[in-house]
Symmetry: C2
Subunit: 161 residues, 2 copies
C-alpha cells in the first residue's frame, strides 16, 4: 500500500489544528480537539519539534505552536520528518533486507526519478491546502448581508394536523 | 512509510523482465531470472493477468507475456492492480477502522487532490522508464567500432615480482 504511516497522518492533523488557532496549545488540549490519544500527540509533537516544524514552550503556561505559517509547510516536509526520505522501494534507502530479487533485479537503481516525482508532487501541497478553515476563520470570511430593505417575509401558517 | 507493497514491487520487476525478451515466459523461468520465489511469481502473474497487464497462454508450451508494450504500462496502473486505488490515508478509501481522529479531523475529506497529484506523478512513469535494457538490447545498440587502422598496441611487459 502506498500509504502514510499513522504517525505522519496524525502529524498532518495536528499541524492543521495548530494552524487553525494562534497561540500555544497543550498536548491534552490537542488530544481533545483532534481525538488523537494524548501519548501519540506528545510523540508526534516531539518529532515535529526536532524537525523545526513546531516550537515548544516549556512551563506551566507552555505548549506548542507552529514554527512557520501553515502555508509554508509542504506536506513532503511532514512526511520526511515522520517517516524518513520518500522511497517507494526498500532498496533505495539501503534497507534491502528481505528483497529476494536484488541480485538479478532488472529495475535496480532506477527508482530515484520516481521517488523525486512523488516528492515533488507532495511538496506542491501545503498543510494549509489540507486544513479546513476553523469556525472563527469561517466567521471572519462570512459574507456580510446588506441590511433588510423593508420587504417583509409573509409568515405562512402551518396547518395543524 | 510511503512505500509500495512487496507484491507491487515484485510486479514491476516481473513486468520489466517480461519486457526484456519477447515470447512466452514460464513462472519457473521468471523466478530464476529475477530471484523472486516461484509461488510469489505465480501469484503476481495471476493478479497482473486479471488486470490485463499480462497475457497467459496455457499448455505445455504456455507461459506469460506482456499484454501491451512496456512503454505503454504506467507505473500507476501496476500499483493500482496490486494494491488498489492510490490513497495516502486510510480514511479516503473507506477503511477508517482504527483512526482515532475521524470525529474531529481538521483535514477530513481534503486528501483527494493529494492522491490525484501522486497518481499523476506515477502515471507519468512507465515500466519502460524503470527497466534496464537487456544484454541483447545493449548489444543491439552497442557502438560499432571502426576496423583497426594498423596502429599496433605495444605490449608492456609486466615486471615479475
Amino acid at each position: 500500500m502506498l500509504r502514510l504511516s499513522k504517525l505522519a497522518d496524525y502529524a498532518v492533523v495536528l499541524l492543521a489544528r495548530l494552524g487553525q488557532e494562534d497561540g500555544l496549545h497543550t498536548a491534552p488540549a490537542l488530544a481533545t480537539a483532534t481525538g488523537i490519544a494524548e501519548p501519540t500527540v506528545a510523540k508526534v509533537l516531539r518529532i515535529l519539534s526536532q524537525a523545526c516544524l513546531v516550537e515548544a514552550q516549556r512551563g506551566a503556561r507552555g505548549g506548542h505552536r507552529l514554527a512557520k505559517p501553515i502555508s509554508a509547510i509542504p506536506l513532503s516536509d511532514v512526511i520526511i520528518a515522520m517517516d524518513g526520505p520518500i522511497a517507494l522501494t526498500a532498496c533505495v534507502d539501503g534497507a534491502t533486507g528481505g528483497c529476494e530479487a536484488e541480485g538479478h533485479c532488472p529495475v535496480r537503481g532506477r527508482w530515484d526519478p520516481v521517488n523525486e516525482a512523488v516528492r515533488a508532487a507532495l511538496s506542491a501541497v501545503t498543510i494549509s491546502d489540507l486544513a479546513r478553515p476553523s469556525c472563527s476563520e469561517l466567521h471572519r470570511h462570512a459574507p456580510v448581508f446588506p441590511p433588510a430593505t423593508g420587504a417583509a417575509v409573509k409568515a405562512v401558517p402551518v396547518a395543524a394536523e
